[in-house]
């Protein structure tokens, strides 16, 4: 991954900072510069998510792109944060069979990948059982 493309959103990735529209009260992660509900009437501000939520659905990645090949198998999930927004993230667990739909999770700061080409180590948010 290229340097600027990664560093641009590092604060958001590291600290689970998304956005909130103060007009309609909707939370967004990933962050959005425009509220799809209010558009020009929206008032977007940064918002740091509490980082707690539950698993909506999940899978176990067993065949990955080269960059993630050494990490397989690993669990990925769509997580609904308690603020109501959903995101996609890896879930860390000692046993991949313990993960279930509805499981409570909380965010944690971890290494995501070591990029082979540019040598940049990418950090971000993963989730663990609450």
């Amino acid at each position: 991954m290229s340097v600027p493309r990664f560093w641009r959103k590092q604060t958001n990735r590291y600290n689970l900072i998304g956005t909130k529209c103060e007009t309609c009260g909707t939370y967004y992660f990933p962050p959005r510069s425009l509220c799809p509900k209010c558009r020009r009437e929206g008032k977007i501000v940064d918002y740091k998510f509490k980082g707690t939520g539950k698993i909506v659905t999940f899978s176990v990645v067993r065949t990955a792109s080269d960059k993630f090949d050494l990490q397989t198998p690993f669990v990925v999930a769509i997580i609904e944060l308690d603020e109501g927004t959903r995101l996609t993230a890896p879930v860390i667990c000692s046993d991949i069979n313990e993960v279930y739909i509805g499981m409570r999770v909380k965010s944690t700061f971890r290494k995501i990948s070591a990029d082979g080409d540019s040598g940049i180590i990418v950090y971000g948010t993963k989730f663990i059982r609450e």
């Binding site: 991954m1 493309r5 959103k9 990933p30 909506v56 659905t57 999940f58 899978s59 176990v60 990645v61 067993r62 065949t63 990955a64 792109s65 080269d66 960059k67 993630f68 090949d69 990490q71 690993f74 990925v76 999930a77 769509i78 959903r86 995101l87 996609t88 993230a89 890896p90 739909i101 995501i112 990948s113 990418v122 971000g124």
Partner: protein
């Protein structure tokens, strides 16, 4: 808006085409389509080419001009446009070609689709395909394309109680059809056990739930309906071609296992075509994964949500069923050269409506439909066709 007809179709063999280049495959399909229409290259007034990722797969952009050139049309200086919406790139090319004629801008237009996927490594292919989803907020975390559809499958099975065996039957049926299609990548029947015993790719999806990596190209010639008889005895009329978008990320959808873009595109297509679901004799749907076919049948309105698995198991969608689905073998068995798929679907429906589908012919087919998806559902194109 004028009526539009398909008057020629052309397909390459789908598969791992080690000896053939990107441009050669697309030209091969185009020449076959022009031959099929019994016309000359000089008759072609405009070209649309669907291609997902020439930039990643063969380091080539500027696809439209490249194909026009190697088709021998450069000195005619025809407009040549590449369209892209990931795996729906071919569908987009088709719809733009239809609109180009319907508007009266041109009389005769070629719509092609091509993808050359086997020139790069498997890991590179996986990464390029992840460009169909949100690179920053899905792909960044190692989420693969199969794992996104796997999350759809798990959500669906959890809510509607579809069994693993019912899901596997989609692949079994499509391999049965593919075994009757001479251009299919896999022409071999399989059993439910073949699916259930295949390697896990992204739980609960196994290798035999997934469409393969494929090289291939497809092309169709479109013409205003009033001129169609100049070129063919059996023109196929385009009753509707519609396109809809949705959030790029699966996690942002209203419902994880409903493709609202399919619902929107299909509803609009049936409105425009002025026909009912029950009038449709066969459908080519976008079964990039088995779960995708299940969702497609439901979201297009052919049955209620949660019912498609049971209907599939009962043979409702089989070649001799009430609504044959993916008579070509679908993406699963026929293969899935991503940019070509949307055009290949049109070729199959036209071939069926002409009664030229050989061992996989649906008797008396009059109305057919196609359904082409980009990514996990951020783009959908649906089209409806009638024999005239």
């Amino acid at each position: 808006m004028r009526d539009v007809a398909v008057v020629g179709v052309g397909l390459t063999k789908f598969g791992e085409r080690w000896g053939d280049s990107f441009r050669e495959m697309c030209v091969e399909a185009g020449v076959k389509a022009i031959d099929d229409a019994g016309m000359d290259g000089d008759d072609i007034q405009e070209m649309f080419v669907g291609n997902m990722s020439g930039g990643r797969f063969v380091l080539q952009e500027h696809i439209g001009a490249l194909i026009a050139d190697y088709s021998g049309l450069a000195t005619n200086h025809i407009p040549a446009t590449r369209t892209e919406a990931a795996c729906a790139s071919g569908g987009l090319a088709f719809r733009q070609a239809v609109n180009c004629i319907a508007s009266g801008a041109q009389d005769i237009v070629i719509a092609a689709g091509v993808e050359k996927m086997t020139d790069v490594s498997g890991g590179e292919t996986t990464d390029a395909l992840a460009g169909a989803a949100d690179r920053e907020w899905e792909g960044m975390y190692g989420v693969t394309f199969p794992s996104l559809y796997a999350m759809m499958a798990r959500d669906y099975m959890n809510r509607y109680g579809m069994t693993r065996e019912e899901l596997a039957q989609v692949a079994v049926k499509n391999h049965y059809n593919g075994a009757r299609n001479p251009i299919a990548q896999y022409q071999k029947e399989i059993t439910i056990d073949t699916v259930l015993n295949s390697t896990l790719v992204a739980d609960p999806l196994r290798l035999m739930d997934c469409s393969p990596v494929t090289d291939g190209a497809a092309a169709v010639i479109l013409c205003s309906l009033d001129r169609a008889k100049e070129f063919t005895d059996c023109p196929v009329k385009v009753l509707a071609s519609t396109q809809a978008s949705d959030t790029i990320s699966l996690h942002d959808r209203r419902d994880i296992s409903t493709l609202d873009a399919t619902v929107a595109a299909a509803n609009r297509a049936f409105d425009i075509a002025k026909i009912e679901r029950k009038d449709v004799d066969l459908v080519e749907v976008h079964d990039c994964f088995t779960i995708a076919e299940i969702c497609a049948i439901e979201d297009m309105g052919f049955c209620k949500k949660g019912e498609a698995g049971k209907l599939t198991a009962e043979g409702y969608t089989a070649l001799d069923g009430k609504l044959p689905v993916n008579t070509s073998g679908g993406l699963k068995a026929c293969g899935h050269p991503v940019g070509a798929t949307g055009i290949k679907q049109v070729c199959e429906v036209v071939t069926q409506l002409r009664g030229e589908a050989g061992k996989r012919q649906v008797d008396g087919a009059e109305i057919g439909m196609t359904h082409n998806v980009g990514g996990t559902g951020a783009t959908v194109v649906t089209s409806i066709f009638r024999r005239v």
